[in-house]
Every structure is written in C-alpha cells, then in structure tokens.
C-alpha cells in the first residue's frame, strides 16, 4: 500500500480513482441501511494471485500433455480445469443468499476503540466457511456459519474525535474452498455511530488546590423546589424513583425528585467551562455529565443553542452525551485507519 516510490498525492489520486470505480460498479445498488441480503447482482468474483499461479501450472501441464501426447496428462489437466472452474461456483455460492445485519453500535468516547457488531444469517441450508468482513484494511476474524444458523462478527475501528459518524463501505469476502478465487460484495450498512468527547476534568485545567471549590462554582443553584417534590414521570427516569403509592392512588406515575436532599438542580453550563475553544468545553461538559451521573444528581445542561432539561439516570446521561457528540457537527464518514501524519 505505502510503496515509497508512490508519492502521497499519487496514492491519494489512485485511491480516489478506485473509489470512483467501485461507486460506478455499485451504482445500481440501493443504500443498505441496517440489513442487506446478498443477491446475484452484488456478488463479484475474480481470481486471486494463487489462482493465477494455478493457471500457470495448468498451462505447463497442458504443454507437457501436448508434447508427450499423453492423454492421461490431458485428462488430469482438464480435470483440474474443471475443478478450478467449479471453484468459481463454490466460492460465489459461499456468499450468495447471506443476510447481513449491522447491530447497534455502543457509543464510545473519542480516542477509544469502536466495536462494530454484525450478524450474518444463513437461510439456504448450506454451511458457509471462511467469511471475512473488512472495512478498509481492517478485517474481522474469519467466520463460519452452520447451515440455517447465524453468527456474529465484530470489527473494531478507532474512534478519532467526537461526533456522529457513518460507516465507510464494508466488504464481505471469501476465498473458500480453494483460495484461487475471491468472491466479495460491497456493503453500505450504516448503523448509527456516536463518539462522545473524551472527558476532561475542568478542575485539572483550572489547576491544583482550588479544584474542588471551582468545581462547585461551576454549579448554579436553583431554588424553589422542595426535597419531596413529586413530578410526573418522564421517560428515562429511573424506576427506583417512582412513587408507587402515588401510582396506586391516582393511577399516574410520579417520581420523587431530589432524593439527594439538596433541593437544587445542577446546571452544567457551556459558558461556565473554563476554556475558550469548543472542543475543550465539550470535553469538560462531558466530564461533568459523567461526574454528575456518578453522583446520582439531577442535572441539566446548557449549550449555546440547546438546553437539556434537568433529569437523571442513564438515559438522561446518554441524552446529554449525545448532544455533546452532535454539537454543531454533521455526520462524517469514519476513517478506517487512524490518520498517520
């Protein structure tokens, strides 16, 4: 890939050319979404290097057979030609009819590794062997699926920066059974991929001794809410906070707020973050969200163009983190490789 003789620009151009070619070939294919079924129209096949080696060996055998007028040599050569030809069918069939589904991807923090689970289902009654799923140069471990069964495979990719991502084109391929041919398909499965900002402790940024104090300065108190305030249930509220007695009385779900007894909401405010650039602020907010969630606090979050109402629980946490990840960010295509500079 990275031959020294090819300059970076050339490589880039080659890459673009290849991409364009693949796009042209797959122009008829609809975007896959969550699941894809491999029909005849999207399984491609070409000989591998081993395939060309075998062709060369067979040519030599054929020349030998002609030279020695040996019918048995002809027979064996032609038998192998037949086997090679049928390998095309076998290899193609190893991919054909599979259904591949992208499973939900667990969000990660920037800099961590994303693991992308896929499920492959076999419904035609043929066991499948040696399937590999790859994105760019990242390849999964080879996979076998018993007949009428399914198997799961995981690809890992680095999560470079916070944001919301799309998967680049995936490739499912196999060389089974003889390795002389490779059948493959291009997939455009697109699970939702969220990368949260990597948390940064604002206290650390502000430095040393005043850490705790400043951290509490960042919190804005709100008054006017009693400790035992009941409010209607909102999706995402932890079940433990539901006041079942109230439910028994009124038939409506209510939750008890502020079990911590502080009686105030914590607001995590963009403006209050001790940093000037967006990403650091987001990273700090991320840290605050995690900390507040860990403490079991009720908290809200204010971003320049978005406010997350106070709440608590893991769904609330995720809502906050998601807003951080999506903040002023368009979906991008995930690069399969960590960019090298």
């Amino acid at each position: 890939m990275r031959a020294d003789s090819v300059s970076g620009a050339d490589r880039h151009r080659l890459h673009r050319l290849r991409d364009d070619a693949i796009r042209w070939i797959t122009r008829r294919h609809a975007h896959d979404g969550e699941t894809a079924r491999l029909g005849r129209d999207r399984v491609y096949i070409l000989p591998t290097r081993a395939g060309y080696t075998l062709v060369a060996i067979l040519l030599v055998m054929l020349l030998g057979a002609i030279n020695y007028s040996s019918n048995m040599a002809f027979l064996l050569t032609f038998l192998l030609v037949g086997i090679g030809h049928n390998a095309m069918w076998y290899t193609h069939r190893n991919l054909l009819g599979l259904r591949i589904t992208s499973l939900p991807v667990a969000p990660v923090f920037a800099g961590a590794t994303l693991s992308l689970p896929f499920r492959l289902e076999e419904a035609s009654g043929r066991p499948r062997e040696a399937l590999t799923l790859s994105i760019g140069t990242r390849a999964s471990a080879p996979l076998a699926i018993p007949a009428q069964d399914s198997a799961q495979v995981e690809l890992t990719l680095p999560a470079p920066a916070r944001g919301i991502y799309r998967l680049p084109r995936q490739r499912l391929h196999t060389r089974y059974p003889l390795g002389i041919l490779e059948a493959w398909t291009w997939l455009t499965l697109s699970p939702e991929i969220l990368v949260y900002p990597a948390p940064v402790n604002p206290g650390n940024v502000l430095g040393g001794a005043g850490g705790q104090a400043t951290a509490s300065q960042l919190r804005t108190r709100h008054r006017g809410e009693t400790p035992d305030h009941l409010r209607p249930y909102r999706p995402g509220d932890p079940p433990g906070r539901i006041v079942w007695k109230a439910f028994a009385r009124s038939g409506k779900l209510h939750v008890r707020e502020s079990v911590s007894g502080r009686g105030d909401h914590l607001w995590l405010d963009w403006e209050a973050m001790p940093a000037t650039d967006t990403e650091t602020r987001l990273a700090m907010l991320c840290h605050q969200v995690l900390a507040a969630h860990a403490e079991g606090r009720i908290f809200g979050m204010r971003l320049p163009d978005l406010t997350v109402d106070p709440g608590q629980g893991s769904r609330h946490r995720e809502r906050c983190l998601r807003s951080l990840a999506q903040f002023r960010s368009e979906p991008r295509v995930l690069a399969p490789e960590t960019p090298r500079t």
């Binding site: 080696t53 030279n67 048995m72 062997e129 040696a130 089974y176």
Partner: protein, 689 residues
C-alpha cells in the same frame, strides 16, 4: 449465535499442513520405483521431520538451514543426473522442492504452492505408466490434494468426513468438464520439443531378424501385443494369420527381413473383406501386424510388394488402426510368373547349407517329379510321420542347424519348422520365404475382442506356385495342428512340456491358477477398454469424431461450436439439477383456478381482475355488483373456494369441490378477443385514473 472458537494450533495459517503432509506423500508414492533411493529417503525424512515438528508444536527450521539443505539437494541431483532438466532429474528436483517447501512452510502460501506442485507430481507419474490403475491412483491423490486445499482455506478445522465429501463432490462435478475438454480441445500431434521416446518402455515384439531362439523368448511373454475387434463375426482361428515381417534372405542360420521393397497398391478385390480395428502396443519398429491378406490399409501405412505393411514412422506409443483383409487371395495371385530376380532370391541357399536335406529333397523329387504340390505334401508328411516334437525348449543346435534339426534333434517350435521347411523347399527349387507374425490368440468373450499376446508369435512359410502366387504353408500345423486350430492353449493340452500356466486354459489347472487366469482376462479387458477408448484418442481420432458431427477440429469455429455445445449441455443439466433440487411451493389447485377465473373476467373488463390483496368474498361481491348476471356463479365460487382452502375436508370432498370450481370457471364465457382491451391498455388506463 454460533461463533466458533478456533481450536487450531498456534498458527491458524498452518491448519491444512497436517493433511498436506498426508496428501503429498501419497501423490509422490509412485515415483519411489523410478528415483534413486536417496531421493526417496530425503523426501521421507523431510516430511517426517515436519510432521514431528508440527505434532510437537515446534516452528519450521530457519531459512539458513533450509537454504543449505536446498543447495545440497540441488547439487546431489546434479551429481546424480548431470542435469536438472529432463524427466528424471526434473521430477527428482520437483519432489525435493515440495518436501522442503513442506518442511519450511510458514504460512498458507507455502502450503498452497506445495499442493499445487503436488498436482504436477501426479501428472509426472504418467511418464512411467498410463494404466487404468495409475489413473485411479491419481484420482485418489487429486482428491486428497484438493481436500487439503479446502482445509487450508476453510479457516477452521473441518471434520474429515465432510472434507472428503466436499473434495469428492468437486472432483465429481469437474468430470463433465474434463470429458468435454478431452474430446473437444483441439489436439495437435506432439512433440513440441525434445524427443519423448522414453515415454513408454517399448516392448519389442517380433524382431527384424529371425534368429533361432528369438520367438522362444517371446513365447514366455504373457503381455498383450495386439488386440483386435472385428466389425462383423471373427473368422475362424485357423484362418487368422497376422502377418508382420517377411524374410527372404537366408545365410544358412539366420533369416533377415526384406528391405527396400517396392511399395504397391493393395489389390482390388471382389471378395468379402474382413474389417477390423487393431490396437498395437508400442514396438519401436515400423511394421504393423495385419490380417492376411491385407486389402484395405491402415491410415499412414504402405503396402510393400511382399505384403509387409509399414507405417510412416516407428511405433513408439500404442496405436490403433483400422484395416480390412481378404482371407483368400494371396500375394501374386494374379501374376503368372515370379520375376526372375525375385525368384532367384527366393531360391538362394548357401552352397554348404544342409547337405543331408538336399539329398532328402533329391529323393522326393525323384519320386514326385515336377509336381511341386506333391513335394510340399511329402515334406509336411515327413514332419507329421517322423517323431517330430513341438517344444518350447528344444536342444541346442550345433553345426548345420537345418540338418541337425531335421535328422537328429527333431524337436523345436514354429521357427525351427518354418526355417527347415524353407530350406527343404529351396533345395527342391520351389521359391519359398518365411513370414513371421501372430497366430491364434485368445478370444475374449468379455468385450468381444481377440487378444494376441507376444506368446502368440508365430512363423510360417509362403511358397510360390505358378498361377497361384505365394501360397501359405504352415509346417507347424503338420506337427501340432492344435497349435493352429486352437492356438497355444490347444497345444498345451497334450504335452508334458513346461508350458507357462497362462497358455494352459481349462484343464490341468489348480483353482488358484484358473482364478488368476480369469482375473487376468478381466484385467486385460479393462486395460483394453482404457487403452482403446482413452489412451488411443489422438488428433486423428478427434478428426473422426468431429467429422461425424460435421465439424473439423482444425477449424477454430468448429472447436468453439463443440466446446460451446459441450459446456452448454453441462450448464443446462446443472440448471435442471438445481431447479429440481430447489424446494418450491406449488400453488394449491384452487388458487390456480381462482387465477384463471380472475384472468378470464379481466379479459371482459380489466377492472374485474382480483387484486392480490382482495379477499375472494369481497371480490366476488364486487364482480356481482358490476355484472349481476354473474352473481350466483361468483357467490358459489367464493363459498366453494373458501371451503376448499380453509375448510376441513375429506379427500373426496376436496376433489368434488375442485371439480365444482373448475365447472364454475367453464360457465364464464371467454372474452371475444376482438373487443377485449389489451392488458397493457388496461393497466395504462388504471394508471391514468
């Protein structure tokens, strides 16, 4: 979820190595007999070493060691053969390369290369042997190699049984391709380079010269020389003389073949011809044994004045030829006189040769006068009357061979009798020559062909009689008529001679011997079919095959047609097979009737077609609303249909209902085509609405 854990050894790339270590030695096994022992030893050691390393979980030897070993083996081969090219040296090097490749295999590529070369090893075994047994063995080796290849690429351990089945299926599915390519791939006559003479160890049949003892050696040779299939019924054994060489020149002891004889055209004859196809084992000489007397020649052969048939080149591989014989018209039958030069040659006798025989002949001449016929009979009579013996182990002849044989030992076989008879005749002034060839043979009821072994070699005479030509006289027939009537086995019956068991058919054989003989017949049958159907296929036979289809293998368009037809047939059969094997749901009969009704109504009025989502009840009401005259029919139809599809019915009721449905369908008249809007128009209309 069924993600299987990899249970393979440390390096998953080497998963197929185990099987490769079995498959490759199997492929190489036939070479043991043809390679010096040190190569076998080297190969076995390398493979055993790798097997040991693998089983004890160790790594392959380092590259340094391998390089050293490779250089060593290369030099040894060079020392052994003086070259690294050519059949033996090349094969030796190939075997060593594969063994070392296995020994040092580090990744999948190494194993794959070794296995590919394994296929090559299989093909090199055909240098030595092309028997059907070898073919079966190479099928086994190919099967194992393919199984190993599959295992290498399977990425997990596959159960042996499944692997065997998969590899077997791949082989089986490849057979039709093999067949089509074998028949239709354009053949050209080799060689492209070099001299592939050593391809088959030529087994010499009859030699150019007739030395005492030559044929006796052949008589011990059980191997097949010639196999013949007759187009019609085979002529009787005693009429079958397979002529190979004619010998006129005699030096007192040795007869030598006529050379530089004139090439003639086969005579035109009105007699019934015996057509046959012969398969000849390689002889390394040019003559073709043909049934006496040749009337239609094999392709590429010429007839000489002495009726020897010679091919345009030496026979270095098994060949098949078609010819026809006229059993009754001998050479020279139309010539009143033998040309003087010919005559002189056929009478030539060294002055000192056979004095006692000459005296004897002079006596006969005195008795019979000018009657050559009578004189011939007298000589034959002598053989029959005197205690001459037919034996394969005659005493050694010293001094004048002819006299000693005729008057002292009186024991010998065809060669002795033919030679002595010729001397007697020449002494009497009758032009005589010796003909060698085959006579007898065994008729193989299994396969309906005549099998002539080298042991069926025979020698007889031809004497010139004015007006009759070269008349065949077989002196052996006078001593041992059974030899001629029934072939050698007939002879073996009433003699105590140590005749090889294979010549004694039927009687006096132990159970084991006769079983062996019957197995031998089977083997010869299989060999014959293999040879005549598979090995004998050459450019010429391909031309015949193509010609029968109106094609010509030298024309690329013909080849394309043949290959296309062949592959097309395979494709169609494969498609049909897949189609048959694919399970499909047959629509219930009631549904088919429903569809017909809907289509029939749609011909009248496209809006009446039932939409796929429309319940039959609703549809019937809709149609009844539009066409009240159909109301009852449709209502009954819907009721019956629903009962048929969803009710619980006995088979009889089911059949009755179906009948009713079909009856109802028939009551709906077909649309008049002239008025019926075309379907496309209808759908367009609907789209417009």
């Amino acid at each position: 979820m069924n993600t299987r854990a990899n249970t393979a050894a440390a390096n998953p790339d080497l998963r197929g190595l185990e099987l490769a270590l079995i498959a490759l030695p199997v492929a190489a096994l036939p070479h043991i007999a043809h390679q010096p022992p040190w190569i076998t030893l080297l190969v076995v050691l390398a493979i055993a070493a790798r097997a040991w390393l693998l089983s004890s979980g160790r790594q392959a030897p380092s590259i340094g060691i391998m390089a050293l070993l490779a250089v060593l083996a290369g030099s040894l081969t060079l020392v052994q053969y003086g070259t690294v090219f050519g059949q033996e040296a090349g094969t030796a090097l190939l075997l060593i390369m594969i063994a070392f490749k296995l020994l040092e295999a580090r990744n999948r590529r190494d194993i794959v290369i070794a296995l590919f070369l394994g296929y090559f090893v299989v093909v090199t075994t055909y240098f030595f042997d092309q028997s059907i047994l070898t073919a079966a063995y190479s099928l086994l080796a190919t099967w194992l190699l393919t199984a190993a290849l599959i295992q290498v690429h399977a990425e997990r351990h596959i159960e042996r049984r499944r692997l065997a089945r998969q590899a077997g299926a791949m082989l089986l599915h490849a057979l039709p391709f093999m067949l089509v390519l074998f028949l239709a791939f354009p053949r050209i006559q080799g060689p492209l380079w070099g001299d592939p003479q050593r391809e088959e160890t030529a087994r010499t049949g009859l030699s150019d010269e007739l030395n005492p003892g030559d044929i006796a050696e052949l008589l011990q040779d059980e191997s097949t020389a010639l196999r013949v299939e007759f187009d019609a019924a085979a002529p009787p054994l005693r009429a079958q003389y397979w002529r190979a060489l004619v010998m006129t020149d005699f030096d007192g002891r040795r007869w030598s073949t006529d050379r530089n004889t004139e090439v003639i055209q086969p005579p035109v004859t009105d007699d019934t011809l015996v057509h046959y196809t012969a398969t000849l084992e390689p002889t390394r000489v040019r003559y073709l044994p043909v049934l006496d007397y040749p009337a239609v020649l094999p392709d590429g052969a010429e007839l000489h004045a002495n009726y020897q048939v010679l091919r345009d080149r030496r026979i270095t591989r098994r060949i098949q030829y078609q010819a026809a014989a006229d059993l009754t018209t001998p050479p020279g039958a139309d010539d009143p006189q033998l040309p003087p030069a010919e005559r002189a040659r056929a009478l030539d006798l060294p002055a000192a040769a056979a004095p006692r025989a000459r005296t004897k002949v002079a006596l006969w001449r005195a008795t019979h006068g000018d009657d050559d016929r009578a004189l011939i009979d007298a000589a034959l009579q002598r053989f029959a009357a005197e205690p001459y013996r037919y034996t394969l182990q005659p005493p050694r002849l010293a001094g004048d061979a002819t006299d000693q044989f005729l008057f002292e030992t009186q024991a010998g076989y065809c060669e002795h009798y033919a030679s002595a008879f010729a001397v007697l005749m020449r002494a009497a002034g009758i032009p005589t020559r010796v003909v060698t060839g085959y006579q007898g043979g065994s008729w193989q009821t299994r396969g309906e062909y005549l099998r002539l072994r080298n042991a069926d070699a025979h020698a007889w005479n031809e004497v010139w009689l004015d007006g009759q030509g070269w008349v065949r006289v077989d002196p052996t027939a006078a001593i041992a008529p059974e030899r001629i009537e029934q072939g050698l086995p007939g002879l073996a019956r009433d003699t105590d001679e140590p005749i090889p068991a294979f010549l004694r058919r039927g009687e006096g054989l132990s159970w084991l011997q006769s079983t062996h003989l019957s197995l031998e017949d089977w083997r010869d049958f299989a060999r014959f079919r293999w040879e005549s159907w598979v090995l004998a296929f050459d450019p010429e036979r391909q031309r015949e095959l193509f010609a029968r289809l109106g094609l010509d293998p030298r024309d690329w368009r013909s080849v394309l047609i043949a290959l296309g037809t062949g592959f097309g047939t395979i494709g169609l059969i494969a498609l049909a097979w897949v189609w048959i094997r694919t399970p499909r749901h047959r629509r219930p009969a009631a549904d088919r009737v429903l569809g017909q009704l809907s289509r029939r109504l749609a011909r009248h009025d496209p809006t009446l077609a039932r939409a796929p989502y429309e319940p039959v009840d609703a549809w019937s009401r809709r149609v009844a609303h539009a066409h009240p005259e159909l109301g009852t029919t449709l209502e009954t139809f819907a009721r019956t249909y629903n009962r048929q599809r969803f009710g619980r019915l006995t088979p009889e009721q089911r059949t009755a209902d179906l009948h009713q449905l079909r009856g109802l369908l028939r009551t709906v008249p077909r649309a008049r085509p002239a008025f019926a809007p075309r379907r496309n128009d209808a759908s367009r209309q609907r789209a417009a609405n």
